[in-house]
């Protein structure tokens, strides 16, 4: 039953989440993840054949908007959320293509 997360998996998940973890944090996260997987295993013991998978908590469907422009230029407000701004743009650390 007990799941074991390998060091490689831990490393990979860290890369995907863009997180740099200390050795202590890695050890802790590994333990948490193993417990989560154990919990999933527990759920898997249930017989769910014939049960529709649920992705939404509320029985609501078909919520649409019409194709009409409702937003004005609010770039000044939007840019208040930028870590830094220049020439009306968000400034971020240089990305390499």
């Amino acid at each position: 039953m007990a799941n074991v997360i390998s060091d490689e998996t831990m490393e990979y998940v860290g890369i995907l989440a863009k997180l740099e973890l200390s050795e202590e944090e890695k050890r802790q996260a590994k333990k948490d993840m193993e417990r989560m997987l154990d919990y999933i295993d527990k759920l898997n013991e249930l017989d769910t054949s014939g049960v529709e998978p649920m992705s939404h908590a509320f029985p609501v469907q078909n919520v649409f908007r019409e194709d009409i422009v409702t937003n004005q230029d609010e770039s000044a407000d939007m840019l208040k959320n930028a870590p830094a701004q220049r020439d009306g743009s968000f400034v971020v650390p240089r990305t390499v293509e």
């Binding site: 995907l16 908590a57 919520v63 230029d73 020439d87 743009s89 971020v92 990305t95």
Partner: protein
Amino acid sequence: MKQYETVIGLEVHVELATKTKIFCGCSTAFGGAPNTHTCPVCTGMPGSLPVLNKQVLEYAMAVGLATNCKINQYCKFDRKNYFYPDNPQNYQISQLYLPICHDGGIEIETETGKKVIGIHEIHMEEDAGKLIHDEWEDCSLVDYNRSGVPLIEIVSEPDMRSAQEVIAYLDKLRLIIQYLGASDCKLQEGSMRADVNLSVREMGAEAFGTRTEMKNLNSFRAISRAIENERERQIDLLEAGKQVVQETRRWDDAKEYSYAMRSKEDAQDYRYFPDPDLVPVVISDEWIERIRAAQPELRTEKLIRYREEFDIPDYDAGILTSSKKMADMFETAAAICGKPKKVSNWLMGETLRLLKENNQEPEDMRFSPEHLAELIELVDSGTINGGVAKEVFAEIFAHDIDPARYVEEKGLKTVSDTGALREAIAEVIAANPQSVADYRGGKEKAIGFLVGQTMKAMRGKADPGMVNRLLKEMLAE
């Protein structure tokens, strides 16, 4: 050397022609100053709620139906997770598990005959923002005006075997979508983008080879060249006993060369999961039928109708219907003046010539069909002659001028006053005794020169037929 077969599948992104973004009421208009078309939804602010633009769904359904796809009557959106600054939410809203359309296909025709290219699926998703890299300072600038612009991604089956088939498929797809009005599908401007998945295998082999994905292809020519280049690169590797590596490559059309991309492709694990902010879409049979019934006449049907309705050659009908804009221009102008044959001649002749000269496509035509129809009337009523008409048409093509007013203002009307014409002819006869003698001596052709001289004297504003008649009359005296 062994014989190899190229196996190609395409992922085509098409930007839909909606007024607003897929999940918010921001404008999709081009050319706005950076971030002037943004809101909390399309900049990924916590707590903002996306709501699906109904028109996006209906365009996607229309494209699916026109490409013989089945519609998923229960469809959902998923989050595709990746970290990159062009994507402010840290996920792109897309569709993985239940895309809107699946299992379709379109028929293409190449030199080797007809063939159906399968469409695996079509899904809806949002475009990303635009990054500008600053060469001098260690930063990038982000403009989120494109973030949230609606796209559909059309994923083909790996059914194509050559660059010709790929071009034929893209051309057909483009026409269908343009006719539906779902997008203008301009490769150069990026409203249609094609990623090419390509592998090679020994002729006759069952299993597929390892494929690569090629990006940054923004013209049919670049696509053809990239395909030839990648085919050769993979064969060279195999011939040298090496392996093809599954990777994404970027095509550099100026250098005619592709290179493997690094950056975000390191993390191909997108960890998709259903987007909890967007509720499922349930599509009734009636809704599908409504979309199907509203579908405009597509090219194949149009071609058949043109043959029946208009007295124009098949070749011309083919060209006129090869672009939605051209077909609309033809039909509207023909309906106004009632002279389809003449409208066709103007479009097939001068219009195509000017488009080519300006390096433009039919979609770039800016003049109104009313003005073309009016020009045809001016010629037919004898108000202007053919030579002047060409000159006026160049102005219509470039500036959409009103031809009647232009002719009036520039004094281009044909001179029908025979007195003035006779005067001019008399002068031409007096000034060209040799040609006159040649004509009288039986050289019929000499009259052509005299007509030309008279037209020149009249500064083009005479009816050549009338000049010819009067010349003959006066030379016979």
